[in-house]
């Protein structure tokens, strides 16, 4: 075959393009939103990475931080530092005496000039200096101030000591809004820590020492000689580079996840592209036959239309990239609660290039699927209209394009997820979801065609019959609107489900108040306070803290020397275990393997029970030997059983459970769980206990639900923002599908009106058709999302599935209503024009 005459092909493409520009713009609109989302997220990620680089020192606030759960003694590097600061932080109740209210917070006792980089931003600005000037002053996180309506100058009680609030903390280096929601910080001077009386046995305390060194000091080199010693003492050293890496990594994960959501929006758009090009091609078949008749080769015909698609794809990709670049300006606001650094916005040419190439590539790839049909058009179609072309199924190029699409989806998700397995999972999910929705569409059309009763009213029958008219968009609309609905409603249902689960825990017989860090001498008095109010003590749990010495004879040092695939997690040796003892299971536990073996049942060996997830995560087996270090005393145990533990209820749940008779004499503290009748009673008992025993922390379920709601709202705002792209794409695909099918509708409208149907009847038929289309698409999506929520509830979150019928109904009505309104707006012009005007082609 001779070389294609590109000049002529371009000329023909331009001639055709001229008359089709508005229709081609429609198909391109489908990918604009997806590309915009990808470019926005990618630009934001690029900028964030460079901001993390630039503000790395502010993330840590120092050049080096040493962390341990016991006081860090003098260190040899103290003398090498220009300056040092110390912090002791722990969770504790603080009280606002003015209102009598109290809440669990993160208390941070500070000594020295931390942060050395960045600053504690306060209102008033002088608050920080005032706090450091000495005296019983505190800085309180703004979320806490707002919650208790506190003012600067008010008094806050931390343990036994009352502090004056010197400033409202706006931001702390390296801390995000989410951290502040979970554990709002209260800074107090280190000098008064002991006086508070809060650091007692069982308190989970973290000791930090901050260092700043001379500029250009190689920190890694500096700390190298001390690392072995710190390892033994379980001191963790964190440098600016470490922090940069971990922050960068977590944001890369976030950015990749968001890109994946954007990618789903883009894929929805791609379905729109394929669907629009499909209709475009069907309408071009007659012209293709004429061109073939006039002697144009099948390759050249394909190239004419492919060139048009290329130009429009490029246009859509550029438009999407520009929109995406503009969109990233609002992303720092959307993600404000998650960002540890201040993000600058600007054009990222790398992301723009990425967007343009991706947009161009997907438009061509997805358009090729329907476009390949033009190669098979016989010139004979000029004399006799063609019937369905069975050659399509056998066309190897078509299968090559389908393979190309699958490889693209896999490749793109692999690039974002960094795991071949996850990428296969994602591709599988996309194919499955599209397959299900495509199947639903096919099934509905088949059922309507097969079972449409003749006795139905004409308008209803005609509207239903329209679902399978030639060139219909039923399947593509069900796939795009359905998938968009499925995504949004799954997120929505899941969020609802998590909240419902938390609220469900608040039913009659479930505990709703938890008191912890109770010292043994305080136990009886606290119990009296509870029972004195006619409340039942639902659980009284002793807790002993311990560390792990050996697993199957391998101690920490030996474990370090084992190869990576044989050793145990270093974390297992470093962490502190909070352990209780009993010979029975509680409501939130079920036995998964082995049995609970009481002391003395098998000689004098001690058999402990481990939570299944912990055991599985660390490759531990029944019968393994574990030696614990209980306050300096080694205790050898064997794993006797694994328990499935439900961690999402107000209860004390433990990774390690000892049998009775071993730990009774060890130093311990206690947890008491009860159920109050209402929030007021919870507040009263909380206030009474905290007033008398400031070291005891009290959490009531109301606060947990509130915090969870707050966090979920923040997360869901981000997720909904991202889901918006899918909705927007769905709407664009819907609009373009409606406009594309407008010409079809015009012909039907003419026929109906020529036969005497009034505009009311035509309008009713159209509205009913949109109603059926919207209903089928949204219902398919909602049912799919119910299935997804059920799967996620059962297998990921370990919750009972409670279908959100109300929310489902609202979504169904909203999406169906939107389809009807858009359809009506699109059809209005056709209905109001005289048939003759449309016949003449002026419509």
């Amino acid at each position: 075959m001779p070389m294609p005459d590109f000049a002529w092909i371009l000329r023909m493409a331009f001639r055709d393009f001229r008359k089709n520009i508005s229709r081609l713009l429609l198909f391109v609109s489908s990918i604009v939103v997806g590309i915009a989302a990808l470019v926005a997220i990618s630009s934001f990620g690029e900028n964030l990475t460079s901001d993390i680089d630039n503000q790395a020192k502010e993330l840590l606030g120092a050049d080096l931080v040493l962390e341990n759960n016991k006081p860090i003694g003098d260190q040899p590097i103290d003398s090498m530092a220009l300056n040092t600061a110390s912090e002791v932080n722990f969770a504790s109740m603080v009280a606002f005496p003015a209102s009598g209210a109290s809440r669990l917070t993160q208390v941070r006792a500070l000594e020295g000039d931390f942060p050395f980089y960045g600053y504690l931003e306060t209102i008033p600005a002088s608050g920080d200096a005032d706090f450091r000037a000495g005296g019983k002053k505190a800085l309180v996180e703004k979320i806490l101030m707002a919650q208790f309506d506190a003012q600067v100058g008010d008094i806050i009680k931390v343990g036994e000591v009352e502090f004056e609030i010197a400033g409202e903390l706006q931001s702390v280096p390296g801390q995000t809004g989410i951290t502040a929601t979970v554990a709002p910080a209260v800074y107090i001077p280190m000098a008064y820590l002991e006086e508070t009386g809060l650091v007692q046995y069982g308190s989970r305390v973290e000791y930090n020492r901050y260092f700043v060194f001379a500029e250009n000091t190689d920190i890694d080199l500096l700390i190298e000689p001390f690392e072995d010693e710190w390892e033994i003492e379980r001191i963790d050293a964190d440098t600016v580079e470490d922090r940069k890496r971990s922050t960068g990594r977590s944001f890369e994960n976030l950015s990749n996840f968001l890109s994946l959501v954007a990618f789903i929006a883009l894929l929805l758009g791609c379905v729109g592209v394929a669907s629009a090009v499909n209709v475009f091609v069907k309408e071009k078949l007659a012209s293709v036959a004429v061109l073939r008749c006039l002697g144009v080769s099948s390759r050249d015909v394909l190239l004419i239309y492919l060139f048009e698609i290329l130009v429009m794809g490029l246009f859509g990709a550029i438009l999407g990239s520009v929109l995406g670049t503009l969109l990233q300006f609002i992303l720092p606001v959307v993600f404000a609660d998650f960002l540890p650094v201040e993000v600058t916005v600007g054009i990222s040419w790398l992301s723009v290039g990425f967007g343009v190439i991706t947009g161009l590539f997907v438009s061509v790839l997805f358009a090729l699927l329907p476009l390949l049909k033009v190669r098979n058009v016989s010139p004979m179609a000029t004399l006799r209209p063609e019937t369905a072309d069975s050659r399509l199924m056998k066309d190897p190029s078509r299968w090559a394009v389908i393979a190309g699409i699958l490889i693209f989806i896999w490749g793109f998700s692999y690039y974002l997820l960094g795991s071949a397995q996850l990428a296969f999972g994602f591709t599988g999910f996309v194919v499955f979801a599209f397959g299900i929705l495509w199947g639903v569409g096919q099934l509905i059309m088949w059922a309507v065609r097969k079972f449409l009763p003749i006795s139905l009213r004409y308008t209803v029958r005609q509207a239903l019959a329209n679902l399978y008219r030639p060139n219909n968009q039923t399947i593509s609309l069900i796939a795009t609107i359905g998938l968009g609905t499925a995504m949004i409603s799954t997120l929505f249902f899941l969020q609802n489900q998590l909240l419902e689960e938390a609220k469900f825990a608040d039913k009659e017989d479930q505990p709703n108040l938890l008191m912890f860090d109770i010292q043994t001498p305080q136990l009886e008095a606290v119990k009296e306070k509870v029972t004195g109010r006619d409340l039942r003590i639902l659980q009284e749990v002793p807790i002993v803290t311990m560390q792990l010495n050996e697993i199957n004879g391998v101690d920490k040092r030996e474990n370090e020397e084992l190869p990576d695939d044989e050793n145990y997690s270093r974390w297992m040796y470093n962490r502190e275990y909070r352990v209780t003892y009993r010979d029975t299971l509680i409501d939130t536990e079920t036995l998964a393997e082995g049995e609970l073996i009481p002391l003395g049942a098998r000689g004098d060996s001690i058999f402990v029970s481990l939570s299944t997830s912990f055991a599985e995560g660390n490759n531990l087996k029944i019968g393994d030997e574990i030696e614990f270090n209980v306050q300096g005393r080694p205790i050898k145990t064997y794993i006797g059983s694994f328990r499935n533990v439900k961690f999402n209820q107000v209860s004390t749940n433990f990774i390690v459970l000892f049998p009775n008779g071993v730990l009774e004499q060890a130093p311990k503290f206690h947890v008491i769980i009860t159920r109050t009748k209402n929030d007021r009673e919870s507040a009263a008992i909380q206030s009474e206990v905290v007033r008398e025993f400031p070291n005891i922390s009290v959490v009531n379920l109301g606060v947990i639900v509130e915090t969870l709601e707050d966090i979920l709202n923040k997360i869901s705002f981000v997720i909904q923002f991202m889901a918006f792209f899918s909705i927007a794409t769905g709407i664009l695909v819907l609009i373009s599908s409606l406009i594309i099918s407008k010409y079809q509708r015009m012909r039907e409208s003419i026929l109906l009106r020529t036969l005497g149907a009034g505009s009311g009847t035509v309008s009713k038929i159209n509205t009913l058709e949109y109603f059926f289309l919207g209903s089928l698409a949204s219902l398919s999506g909602i049912i799919l999302s119910f299935a997804a929520t059920w799967l996620l509830s059962a297998f990921v979150f370990d919750m009972n599935f409670r279908p959100a019928w109300g929310a489902g109904l609202v979504l169904y009505l909203a999406i169906t209503g939107l389809t009807i309104v858009l359809g009506w707006l699109n059809g209005r012009k056709i209905i109001n024009q005289p048939p003759m005007e449309i016949l003449r082609g002026n419509g």
Binding site: D16, L294, G295, M380
Partner: protein, 225 residues
């Protein structure tokens, strides 16, 4: 000299286990410059015969020699090249490209032949069919008769050796139809083109030198007028 030679031509369509023979062992030759009509009732196979003779479709058995080339030995794209070089078409429903103006429609065959004077030549032809002033109009802006005149100009543009016309007046009123017939025959005479007409219209068929009657896929009569 034969411009078209049809030998033992058959066309059978298969649908599942059933097969339908539309043309059965058809034989005839057409001399260069001859005008010929193929007539017959609906479903007799005349459109199929036209499609096979013009190289729009391939036969089940038999052969078609068009200007010395055996079409059954050519691929679809090679047949397309033959159509561009030697064949012109006029259709019942005009088959103009809706996104091209009248002038551009006429230019396409010339451009495919890489003629530098495509535009001038196309304009000349439009003038000849009386549409010089409608050159920039799109098909939807033209009446049926005007569209068919553009189609005729396009058919003659590449100076084909043979012109196939499928019911060229079938979609037009009598007056316009007569005008189109005259145009076709005049141009045919002027250019010395071979003309193969498929029609129901016996009056139109009577204007050609030879009439082939076809029924049930077989030639019933092949008579010179």
């Amino acid at each position: 000299m034969n411009i078209l030679s049809v030998k033992d031509l058959s066309k059978t369509y298969k649908s599942g286990s059933r097969s339908l023979t539309v043309l059965d062992q058809v034989n005839f030759d057409i001399q260069a410059g001859e005008t010929i009509s193929i007539v017959g009732p609906s479903g007799s196979g005349k459109t199929t015969l036209l499609g096979l003779c013009a190289g729009l479709d391939s036969a089940s058995t038999g052969s078609v020699q068009l200007n010395g080339q055996a079409l059954e030995k050519l691929s679809e794209d090679q047949r397309a090249a033959v159509r561009n070089q030697d064949v012109g078409f006029i259709f019942q429903n005009f088959q103009l490209l809706p996104t091209l103006t009248a002038l551009e429609n006429v230019m396409v065959p010339l451009e495919l032949k890489k003629r530098k004077d495509a535009r001038t030549k196309a304009l000349e032809l439009l003038e000849k069919v009386g549409l010089g002033d409608r050159a920039t109009h799109y098909p939807t802006q033209l009446s049926g008769g005007e569209q068919q005149r553009v189609s005729i100009a396009r058919a003659f543009a590449n100076e084909p050796k043979i012109l196939f016309a499928d019911e060229p007046t079938g979609n037009l009123d009598t007056e316009t139809g007569e005008m189109i017939e005259k145009l076709i025959f005049d141009l045919n005479k002027e250019k010395g083109t071979t003309l193969v007409l498929v029609t129901h219209d016996t009056e139109l068929a009577g204007k050609t030198q030879r009439i082939i009657h076809i029924k049930g896929g077989k030639i019933q009569e092949d008579a010179h007028a």
